[in-house]
Amino acid sequence: MTSTADAQVTSPRSKKHGSFLGRTAGSPLLRLIIRRVLLAVPLLLAVSLLVFILLEAMPGDPARNQAGMDATEDQVEAVRRSMGLDRPAPERYITWLFGFLRGDLGVSSVSGRPVAELLAERLPVTLELVGLAFVLSVVLALPVALLAARKPGGIVDRLIMVFSMTLLAIPNFVMALLLVLVFAVTLQMLPAIGYVPVQVSLVDNLRSVTLPVLALAIPMACFYARFLRGDLGEQLLGAGYIDTARAKGAGIWRILWLHAFRNSSFGLLTLVGLNIGALVGGTVIIEQIFAMPGMGMLMLQGVISLDLAIVQSCVFIFAAVAIFANLFVDIMYAVLDPRIRYGSH
């Protein structure tokens, strides 16, 4: 999918864009980045519109919810007007969109507080979880994959592949509970639930996020390790440059790291980028299990209590993160691979 899109961007056939962008931007890389960012804008708009339409279809009446069970019709109408729900849907969408761009995300109907304020409280927790899980998944996958690829078909390779396949088959919410069972209930080494802010104590903070981060990172790490091991193994079998390196007398680690891994890093980058969305989505369930006051939990509570302003913003931000991660991968491709930049591939 990326390759066809790239071909469109850089092939001489798309003269129209080439001449237009050629005037605005000199370097091919910059041109490609601009083009990618321009493509992301309508996508973001469409995503926000879809979220809005979905929430319109949500059952229940938010105004009645807000007014309370025994409110009269007049009171419900008054609440409806104060929430702006009496205006037509397209107008409300436009209002929301421009509000969002100005940083005004509306007011939570359940807590009565501005959504931006709630998000500012919750965002650091989710960022910490996702950031640590992201780093850990890659850091775990690299040595494991290299170790397995060192001797394809060997006992270490087999063990790693069987082990990672098994771990990969455990859904993250089950993994979370198994971790709690082992490390919190049985060994009592780590807290089962709760989040300690880093301002209170760094050690307690790290202890409180260890299990949720592991639950998010382990399945991802297995996925990356298996992919990387497969890709490295394929190169060791057939690639000419590997044979050349071998003939020159390079050691296996040097071959793996300098010759094979460099090529595999592209595939790994794509995989990691595509999985940012899954990682962020995973926080919804993991934060719920570990009672982490993050964005995922905010969204889930919003969905269950029909707090439209919260769901609209949270879902949009989740989708935007995934879109930007893919955008970043596309751009990194061009940065790393000159063939894509100059369109000669």
Partner: protein, 298 residues
């Protein structure tokens, strides 16, 4: 079909890839691959039989409506081989009935995804040009969402029930299948036999159904196995959050949730549905890999 034909084609696979390996090594790896195909395929068949026929054939207790007097019996209790849960329901019976729900959702979602997503992708790839771009942009919007987030919102909009869970999950199955069908179609479109068919003046429907569809099915079958695993896990997550199969009806997801509530007293209750999910997901993943290897060696 690809699965059953695997062991019947011993001449493929082993001969070409690594001529430097000793013959016994080649034979062993071929044997091992065949074993994995049979084991995972067999487990899948067994699971389907157990979950769909089990409730009629086996002397199971009803999965709901147990008495609190029988609460949390240990495994091996008379009449309850895996014990009972906190509500006094037979765990084995709930596992089998829950598996039926999970597999029903998995099969239904993937069939809908295959038919709808497959046609959308094949048509999009076949038409090419502006219509292709338009279709792909629409799919991009659906794919842009983290799948669990989109499914959670959809499930809440539709309300928790088995059919609604299926509908919510197709929202991420259809675009994923469509993308794979499209890229496979575009690969087929560049093949000489397709150009020959076009030159011979075959009508579009003939090209689509005689030449394109049969050639993209292997790729889609491989993805469907992985799709089964993904859908079953997502259904589990949804039911775990209380947005999927509504309690007290069993599903592996809501069984995990119920077990979480009494984790310190009865930790074994987490393990049964966890084990069921593990075995199912592992079998579908392995079967998918076997089919992929089979497709690639051809």
């Amino acid at each position: 079909m690809a699965v059953t034909s695997a062991p019947l084609r011993p001449e493929l696979g082993g001969a070409s890839p690594a001529p430097t390996l000793p013959r016994t090594g080649v034979r062993w790896s071929k044997f091992r691959r065949r074993m994995i195909t049979w084991l995972s395929g067999g487990t899948v068949v067994l699971l389907i039989l157990l979950c769909f026929l089990g409730p009629y054939v086996l002397p199971l207790h009803p999965p709901v409506g147990g008495s609190v007097l029988n609460s949390a019996l240990p495994p091996g209790s008379p009449g309850h081989p895996l014990g009972t849960d906190v509500n006094g329901n037979d765990v084995l019976s709930r596992l089998i009935h829950g598996g039926q729900a999970s597999l029903t959702v998995g099969i239904a979602v993937n069939l809908i995804g295959l038919v709808v997503g497959g046609s959308v992708g094949a048509v999009s790839g076949y038409l090419g040009g502006k219509s292709d771009t338009a279709i792909m942009r629409v799919l991009d919007v659906l794919i842009a969402f983290p799948s669990l987030v989109l499914v959670i919102v959809l499930a809440q909009v539709l309300g928790p029930s088995l059919p609604n869970t299926i509908i919510a999950l197709t929202a991420f199955s259809i675009p994923a299948v469509a993308r794979i069908a499209r890229s496979s179609t575009m690969k087929v479109m560049s093949m000489p036999y397709l150009q020959a068919a076009q030159l011979a003046g075959s009508p579009w429907w003939r090209i689509l159904f005689r030449h394109i569809v049969p050639n993209i099915v292997p790729q889609l079958t491989n993805f469907l196995m992985l799709g089964m695993a993904i859908v079953i896990v997502t259904e589990g997550a949804l039911s775990f959050l209380g947005l999927g199969i509504p309690a007290p009806n069993p599903s592996w997801g809501n069984m995990v949730y119920e077990a979480q509530q009494s984790m310190s007293a009865t930790p074994q209750l987490v393990l049964w549905p966890a084990l069921a999910l593990l075995v199912t997901v592992l079998s579908f993943n392995l079967l998918g890999e076997s089919i992929r290897d089979e497709v690639n060696t051809r």
